[in-house]
């Protein structure tokens, strides 16, 4: 494999990994506060279709991304109402929204006079750094050649990590996910914390969908996310609910999907189905390994109150 192929694969891995980063960091925020949201794939698809519509209608990719975020928030709000206020089973609510998002996004893409599936790609975001920098050998394309969303995702990861592990509010949020009764007794509003985190997760999943349709692919196709939301769901557990690890895992597994083509070109005899399987195999193995060891499981295990509705006993 020569250097150009390596650089190109790295850049492709970062681009496709960025969608994963956004979704998984959002889900880390929600799950750290104790709410599991299985509708990631549905929110990604809803964000993708509405984001593409927004970008195409206004000829402004940024408006598309904002629309995608708002729609992500709207879908996750339904989940928050059901899961937090109504104490409905989070798995049922999440799956319901996944199914709704899959069907509704396909439906939206097909209706109207010029259906979205037949519209041309919107304007792209443009690069952030001037050409003099992006033309530098190796570091140019790998570090400086991306669009703004890649850098925003880095800031988000740093911000989420700092928030969760270095601020009082982050500590309170983690307490809500580990032991809501104690957090409640300490004066933290469990419901409000959970709402805010679920909505933040929805915003990021919607944004990732918008980024996929508006920027990366430049088109809308029914169900074109290729299980992005589900891979991100796997990344959350694989990373041990930690944003930085989710970022690196996302790049590695995002790279795997683009590696399929590279392998085919280079005649490496690894079937692409096995590459696509990897995020799930590794997450499954990591999950079993971590839970089988009490010490690891304390460090890297799921938040203790994950997917358990909270109810104050005495009211």
């Amino acid at each position: 494999m020569n250097d150009t192929v390596l650089i190109l694969s790295t850049v492709a891995a970062i681009a496709s990994g960025t969608t994963l980063v956004l979704v998984s960091v959002g889900e880390i925020l929600a799950e750290r506060a104790g709410v599991m949201n299985l509708s990631l794939e549905g929110m990604v698809l809803m964000g993708a279709v509405t984001g593409f519509w927004g970008a195409s209608a206004t000829d402004n990719p940024w408006i598309g991304l904002v629309v995608a975020m708002i729609v992500g928030v709207a879908v996750s709000f339904v989940h928050a109402v059901l899961a937090v206020s109504f104490r409905v089973n989070q798995i049922v609510s999440g799956l319901a929204l996944f199914i709704l998002g899959t069907g509704l996004s396909a439906y939206i893409g097909e209706i109207g006079d010029t259906p979205l599936i037949r519209r041309p790609p919107p304007r792209d975001l443009g690069s952030v750094f001037p050409e003099a920098i992006t033309d530098l050998p190796v570091v140019g394309p790998v570090l400086f050649g991306h669009d703004a969303l890649v850098y925003i995702s880095w800031l988000l990861v740093a911000g989420a990590s700092f928030y969760l592990f270095r601020t009082r509010r982050g500590l309170a949020a983690r307490a809500v996910g580990e032991d809501p009764a104690t957090a409640d007794a300490a004066g933290v509003s469990v419901a409000l914390t959970r709402y805010v985190h679920v909505l933040a997760g929805g915003a990021l999943a919607g944004l990732a969908g918008g980024y996929l349709s508006v920027v990366l692919i430049g088109a809308w196709q029914q169900g074109f996310s290729g299980g992005l939301g589900w891979i991100a769901f796997a990344m959350v557990a694989f990373s041990g609910w930690r944003p930085w690890r989710a970022l690196f895992a996302s790049y590695i597994f995002g790279g795997l999907s683009s590696l399929g083509l590279t392998f085919q070109l280079l005649d490496v005899p690894i079937p692409s189905d096995f590459l696509l399987m990897m995020p799930f195999v590794f997450t499954f193995l990591a999950l079993v390994l971590i839970t089988s060891n009490p010490r690891l499981s304390r460090k890297l295990g799921a938040p203790a109150a994950l997917s358990i509705p909270f109810r104050r006993e005495s009211r």
């Binding site: 599991m36 299985l38 549905g42 339904v78 059901l82 206020s85 109504f86 104490r87 409905v88 089973n89 798995i91 049922v92 609510s93 799956l95 319901a96 929204l97 996944f98 199914i99 709704l100 998002g101 899959t102 069907g103 509704l104 396909a106 439906y107 939206i108 097909e110 209706i111 109207g112 029914q222 299980g227 589900w230 769901f233 796997a234 557990a237 079937p271 692409s272 189905d273 096995f274 696509l276 399987m277 799930f280 195999v281 997450t283 499954f284 999950l287 079993v288 839970t291 089988s292 499981s297 799921a302 994950l306 997917s307 005495s314 009211r315």
Partner: protein
Amino acid sequence: MSGVVAWVRSIRIEPRPRQSALFKLLLLLGVLSAAFVAGGLLLAVSGFDAVPAMRLMITSGVDSELAVRSTLILATPLILTALAAAISFKMVIWNIGAEGHLYLGAIGASGIAILFVDGWPTWIAVSVVLISGALGGGLLALLAAVPRALFGTDEVTSTLMLNFIALFFMNYLVLGSRGLWRDLERPNFPTGEPIPEAAELPLLWGSGRRGLHIGFLIAAVVALALWAVIRSTPWGFELRAIGDSRRAALYAGMNVKRKIISVLFISGALAGLAGAIEVTGVLRALEPGALAIGLGYTGIVVAALARLNLLAIVPVGIVVASITNSGQSLQTLGIPNSVVVAFQGILLLAAAAGQFFAIYQLRVVDRSAVALEGTSA
């Protein structure tokens, strides 16, 4: 704004004292009408005539012999995957792996059918093939069940991961390689190797691929049997006891770990059976594209709509299948058939919200009363 906040804060969620049969019926009607109104609104907002469309959604799955047969054919795997979800949900084990178990069932059944049963008497061949499918699904479920029982490994994530592992494995067998499951007579267009005639399910009604096979009867009988077993055997009693309170069951000396493994194995076997029936009754080959249509996830929808009642799963499965099949008729009105998937989601959301109102009631209390309540507690 502060007025709204005060109002939201003055809403109390309280357990509903008692549910009469009339209340349950009204709630069911409320859930259904809420879903249909929401679905109708969706169509109306996007410029379609909602009333004929909703009428078609209700009737087109049952308005001809062919439609009824197609509905029952689609209901068969949904009933089985719903049973798979329901028995594990009853024990508060959130197995969402029916999708993957179904694939493994299809792989196992088609593999055994291609390898062995050519020329066997139909009844023996079909039994062997269906049992192999069930075993395939059950074995995949064990991969999640054993870590769950031994270490408490979260089954939601593990079964979900196994769904995708099974999906890509199935794709590899037919689309990515040239092994046993691939039809080598059609080199350019990857399809599954047809199973021998002996392994094809006997038909009850109609003929050919659109004929109703005995799988539907099997699914209905399995539902009835499972309902009886859970209602009146020690095994079923333990399952219900563990579902009510795992701790109490442990104190009573029940072997919860073994129970988790056995229930998940049976759950996997049910979904595996669904896959085997799809292969032997409908597709007659391992066809990844036709199998990976979310039958496992829709089964969870059916189980949740039936509120985990094993007998109710049969009619609910038929209704969901009928709605799903109405997509094709809706296309004649120019409506994309994806709307039926959206409607499934709406129906499940309405049912989930309905469950809340079945257990709780909302009461708006006045602020001064809240203050009093605070001091007395």
